[in-house]
Symmetry: C2
Subunit: 257 residues, 2 copies
């Protein structure tokens, strides 16, 4: 049982990746180590940065923060102090509607950056909750902003990252607005798979730390419908589920809804 494939958790993948991403053996300072590693790639390692720039950046992004499962990295209304990048683990962003109803608006995996929503008003507009014990890199925004001013490439990277976040949201809008329940679930699985794949992880199996309730909230449906849909996919041979572990068996089948 301890050798079962679904024991192959995110955390393990991430640590492997973190190690292998240390492509430059000369950087051995502790701060440099995590900064140049996997999770901060998008935030810290834009093409076009010279090694001098990278050194400056490493000084800015010097802190790592730990967030335990269920704890908040930040909450609605808190002052905006830093951008974050998921180094290991995963988080969800949540908005609480009046009346206490909650909606999961985002899923952040290792390598994803978050916090951009707070730039507008200077305060966070959603909660970011860890789905498992996680670590994030911290980029204090005032410093980051100053460095953007000095380094064009970094500024361009920031603009692209925010544009990327915008496109991600637009995809989510399409998923919620145009797709039926089973199409949404299939879309989510394929989306996660492709995000993992882009970062060098196995794309056909993963452990999704969201509950069925979280998935339902994210997809605009009830937890029961999520569960039923996954069961149906399983019976149809499209996937195999074992609790939170999911293996995709038939990509084309999933794409065909």
């Amino acid at each position: 049982m301890s050798e079962a494939p679904w024991e192959n958790r995110f955390v393990n993948h991430q640590q492997n990746e973190a190690m292998s991403a240390l492509s430059d053996p000369s950087r051995t300072r502790r701060n440099a180590a995590h900064c140049s590693s996997c999770a901060m790639r998008h935030l810290c390692m834009p093409e076009g940065l010279c090694s001098n720039d990278i050194a400056k950046l490493e000084n800015i992004i010097s802190a790592t923060r730990r967030v335990k499962r269920g704890e908040a990295l930040f909450r609605v209304g808190e002052r905006f102090e830093a951008l974050f990048a998921v180094r290991s683990g995963s988080l969800k962003t949540v908005v609480t509607h009046d009346g206490g109803r909650e909606q999961v608006t985002g899923l952040l995996l290792a390598g994803d950056a978050l916090g951009f929503e707070a730039i507008e008003e200077g305060t966070h507009t959603c909660d970011a909750i860890a789905l498992e014990d996680s670590t994030v890199c911290v980029a204090p925004y005032p410093l980051f902003e100053r460095m953007c001013r000095e380094t064009d490439a970094l500024q361009r990277r920031l603009n692209r990252m925010m544009s990327h976040a915008l496109n991600r949201e637009a995809n989510h809008v399409v998923r919620l607005g145009m797709l039926r329940a089973d199409e949404r679930v299939a879309g989510l699985l394929l989306d996660i798979s492709s995000r993992l794949s882009m970062r060098g992880y196995a794309s056909s199996e993963f452990t999704l730390r969201m509950t069925r309730d979280d998935m339902g909230s994210y997809l605009g449906m009830t937890l029961e419908t999520v569960s039923r849909t996954l069961s149906r996919f399983d019976k149809a041979g499209l996937i195999e589920t074992q609790g939170k572990f999911i293996r995709i068996c038939d990509f084309d089948g999933l794409r065909a809804v």
Copy 2:
């Protein structure tokens, strides 16, 4: 009939606004005139820009483009060349899913900026279609980017605008994911009302140039459900509808769903 309140179109409002916003009588050049006026306020007139900066900006944003009803300002796949701001009229953004199904992902009113989604990949990821004959201000991105580099305040404004777009999308996600049909329609009406109000227009009545089909697509429901919901609101005394003209009679009632 020609004096009926629903003759009071957006276009009229906008022209009034454009005139009244010419707060500095010294700026009489043609290029300066439209640039310092209403529609570009968000793009061009951040607090913190000195008059010298503003002059430079006016040179960059020198073009106005006309888009006729039904025509595209840009389309999916087209190269990203400029950011835009709606000067008069209104547009929708549309994504076409495989299979030809279309989803309206955004509604842009006078004063709104658009085009940010194209920064990531350098090509547009949606179509922008005019809902009525409209004009937009054009900010060529390479020039705009360069000016951001020279002027901190403008860069900060750009970041805030993109963050704002992100928050707008997040609101839309919540609307689609957590609300029922009538709540979505009510939410849209209140959203439009508040956006008009922020820009100094009458907030209790407006002519929404989208068709019921567009509204349905934007809200993730069918045109029939939109129509039925509006009829029900009308009968309940919450609003008055006359085709595309809508008057909100009972804001609190609408907020209460």
